[in-house]
């Protein structure tokens, strides 16, 4: 996703929630925090991720509970 598209997504969200009466300052702060969190949380190389990992987690815990 390009930065331009991301920016446009943020603007449409800000517009949507502004209409509900939430201040633009609060929404911009939330967008900034989200940007920082994403940067800190996702240094993982997403190309290395296998979609199966999504369901793997629950299956992994079922397996562990049987072995324990």
């Amino acid at each position: 996703m390009s930065d331009k598209t991301k920016h446009s997504d943020d603007n449409s969200l800000i517009s949507r929630f502004s209409m509900a009466g939430i201040s633009e300052e609060s929404l911009n702060n939330a967008a900034d925090v989200a940007k920082r969190l994403r940067k800190q949380a996702c240094p993982v190389n997403s190309s290395a991720l296998d979609p199966r990992h999504f369901t793997d987690y629950q299956a992994f815990f079922f397996e562990l509970s049987r072995k324990a």
Binding site: M1, K6, D9, D10, L13, F17, A20, G21, I22, S26, L27, N29, A30, A31, V33, A34, K35, L37, R38, Q40, A41, C42, P43, V44, S46, L49, D50, P51, H53, F54, D56, Y57, Q58, F60, F61, F62, L64, S65, A68
Partner: protein, 475 residues
């Protein structure tokens, strides 16, 4: 004001010899909830009539011999965080958005405790929907710490921490999405158990982040925590994450010491930015563990560095999804800080949320293989700094508290991301006379080992030889 701090086992012993004490103990609990509990801002609802009726029924059945008297919770008064539903009782989740809401079902774990003979006495203050680490709540009230009312109880199970530390009931169930059982347990000098993902059913508990939420008890002793965990750990068919795993021998093994166990001191992440007085206290306990026979070694926890932010990201997205409709309808009904945290979730793109979830299994597998093959538990701080006062941690009045509060879940949130179990154990007092503690983290479904370690250290330290001076609450 003086309240005898009776453990579950002490209450049961009294009930065995004097069954009529079921009503007496219940009456004391609801009276104290109504007085001291309310003075501490820790109570959302006192169910006096229901609790007394339940106690009378139990007492009658015991006196008639119509009940299994072996249940460890028979006649024991309990009260839980205001996220636990009981059909027909108020359930507001600490939120004005649910003002006047009544529960339409009873939580799985509340039913489990009922089946074991517990007497449910009410609901306790929560941070709004469990979304906060300090306990601040302008709608439901900010609970004050029984050790010193100027200080926070931690959150989000803040009322649970206050009421159990105040001796009103011996146990309260809290919820833990990023530390909400362990942080108040640490702040109030309690044992707090964050259970393994899937071990304890969550149906009928108001959700914050369904992939991270867990259920666990706050108690004054390790034995009480073990009794309650054993009672509630059972397959919950209405909870997708629930697994069929029973902790059958939890109590049998509790007193066996830890000479066969290995404790790890994490060489990365967990002690980053920890104040010296906090890490010194934990180091002293680590040495005691070695003296008590455990093998103590340094150990790395690979890949843990991003788990805190992963947890915050997932919680924000799932919380935003759960509350979107209400935010759009009336955002002003939310606490200012809760709303700020929920709004973040709308600005996280789907692919980042997906990646955070998709990385979970590989992170858990890596740490299981690299860390928990070498040790049975790691020892870490819970709060990385001495407990703050209510005033200095109030973000609304004190914006510079932001950095301090961001660090509050540094050591607890990663455990929720992994889904591993953890236990908070009180170990002493800081320079302000507030409790200090350690966190023990283990591999999935190793609660038995964690509690065995905690019990062995608890016997050595006798934390509850000192008790809160509740007289400061007497008006």
């Amino acid at each position: 004001m003086s309240i005898p701090l009776r453990s579950i086992e002490e209450m049961r012993t009294k009930i065995d010899s004097h069954p009529e004490s079921i009503i007496e103990q219940t009456y004391q609990a609801v009276s104290n909830l109504d007085s001291l509990g309310r003075q501490m801002n820790a109570v959302a609802h006192v169910a006096k009539d229901d609790a007394i009726a339940r106690a009378e029924h139990l007492q009658d059945t015991v006196l008639r011999g119509d009940v299994n008297r072996s249940s460890p919770l028979l006649g024991v008064p309990v009260a839980h965080k205001d996220l636990y539903m009981r059909k027909g009782w108020p359930c507001e989740g600490g939120s004005k958005t649910l003002a006047g809401h009544y529960a339409s079902e009873t939580a799985f774990v509340v039913n489990r405790l009922d089946q074991q003979g517990a007497v449910d006495c009410g609901r306790l203050t929560s941070v709004e929907f469990g979304l906060g680490t300090t306990g601040h709540n302008t709608y439901a009230g900010t609970p004050t710490n029984p050790w010193n009312p100027e200080y926070i109880c931690g959150g989000s199970s803040s009322g649970s921490g206050a009421v159990v530390a105040g001796g009103i009931v011996p146990v309260s169930l809290g919820t833990d999405t990023g530390g909400s059982v362990r942080l108040p347990a640490a702040a109030c000098g309690l044992v707090g158990i964050k259970s393994t993902h899937g071990l304890v059913g969550r149906s009928g508990v108001l959700a914050l982040s369904p992939t991270l939420d867990t259920v666990g008890p706050l108690t004054r002793s390790v034995r009480d925590g073990a009794i309650v965990l054993q009672a509630i750990a059972k397959l919950d068919k209405s909870d997708y994450s629930s697994v069929p795993f029973n902790l059958l021998h939890l109590l049998d093994n509790l007193e066996k010491g830890m000479t066969d166990l290995r404790i790890g001191w994490p060489t990365n992440y967990f002690f980053d930015d920890t104040e010296g007085t906090v890490s010194n206290g934990i180091d002293a306990v680590f040495r005691i563990m070695g003296r008590l026979g455990a093998k103590c070694i340094d150990v790395e926890v690979p890949g843990i560095e991003t788990a805190n932010e992963m947890t915050m990201l997932i919680t924000a997205v799932e919380g935003a999804a759960l509350h979107e409709k209400k935010i759009l309808e009336d955002h002003s009904a939310f606490e200012e800080q809760s709303l700020a945290r929920l709004l973040v979730g709308f600005f996280v793109p789907a692919h980042d949320y997906y990646n955070a979830l998709a990385n979970r299994a590989s992170s858990a597998k890596l740490i299981l293989a690299e860390t928990f093959e070498k040790v049975d538990a790691i020892i870490t701080p819970v709060w990385p700094y001495p407990l703050p006062t209510i005033e200095e941690s109030d973000l609304g009045a004190n914006p510079e508290a932001t950095q301090m509060l961001l660090k509050s879940g540094h050591n607890t949130r990663p455990v929720n991301y992994l889904g591993f179990p953890a236990v908070n154990l009180p170990i002493g007092f800081d320079r302000n006379g507030l409790p200090t503690s350690v966190q023990l983290i283990g591999a999935p479904y190793t609660e038995e080992k964690l509690l065995r370690i905690a019990r062995t250290v608890e016997r050595e330290l006798n934390f509850w030889n000192v008790q809160p001076r509740l007289s400061v609450f007497t008006k």
